[in-house]
Assembly symmetry: C3
Amino acid sequence: MPQTTLTLDTNGPGLLEFTDAADAFVRGSGIDTGLLTVFVRHTSCSLLIQENADPDVRRDLDGFFRRLVPEGMDWISHTTEGPDDMPAHIKAALTQVSLGIPIAKGRMVLGTWQGLYLFEHRRAPHRREIVLHISA
Amino acid sequence: MPQTTLTLDTNGPGLLEFTDAADAFVRGSGIDTGLLTVFVRHTSCSLLIQENADPDVRRDLDGFFRRLVPEGMDWISHTTEGPDDMPAHIKAALTQVSLGIPIAKGRMVLGTWQGLYLFEHRRAPHRREIVLHISA
Amino acid sequence: MPQTTLTLDTNGPGLLEFTDAADAFVRGSGIDTGLLTVFVRHTSCSLLIQENADPDVRRDLDGFFRRLVPEGMDWISHTTEGPDDMPAHIKAALTQVSLGIPIAKGRMVLGTWQGLYLFEHRRAPHRREIVLHISA
């Protein structure tokens, strides 16, 4: 079945939308009814389906996770990769590494306000790979 | 492959079980071995598989998320849709938008105590759509 | 399609890797391109894909969840199964019950540092079942 890899370049923490790329892949597959699986090949960024209308929602989501998992927690052992690395792993654990989205009439069944986002948790620029796979 | 949409009417925050509806769809499909994907088409409610024995578990789960993401956090920007809206998006991000459940011998492979729940995070009544899709 | 059940014996809270068992199942299936679904049949342990390099990452993940969801929260109602039971359900709700991992060239498309883990949240030893299912 169809499979591809998206490459996204990130520039610091926050939500990066890739709904259009996923939609293009689904439409190009010619599959009418099926399942799209989205998988991110990293442990310090993650996936999220969230509101794509008001950008404040994404800012507030990022704000919440920064407050819930701040840098500099004094009990952290894994500090060799920088103060933002272990919080990044924790934020990734609290969100998604994979998403399954049914396809109907050749399109993802997303609700009106749903967009697909890569949630970057590291400060430095990173190249991120997302695998898209369609099952019948 | 088989696909359907469930519609659930919610009446405020909490966990609403739909295991029976999913089970009926799986049995009706006649599929012996496969994969059920459950997807919710919204960003202010979410999905959860949790214990279906003691109702206190669901009350405590809701209680935890209300405490972790209270209304009225003063740094929130997205407030135009009411004080419960941004907390709803955050709780949805911390739980699931999609679930994949294998099917064996014509039934979901749920453990003895596992039930499927819609986790409503908004106060006002909402009509929610959940897409069920079966892959072989 | 191929399906199997892994049984893992746990000995208290923490992350238990089962990447090799999943890899062996995928290779043994002979499937070149497809989707592996991993599903855990319990509500007081969960699944996580996380870094398999530095063991401190797993210790810190467990440390974070113990601090976020401590035993003894005084508002908890569900206490009949022990002080670690309701926190276990909450930690399970905050992480994953199912994971979807595409297969390419006969192998899971895991990133270099990604490993599959059972995240045990109970103190007492438990026998845990994980269902693996491959779709085309």
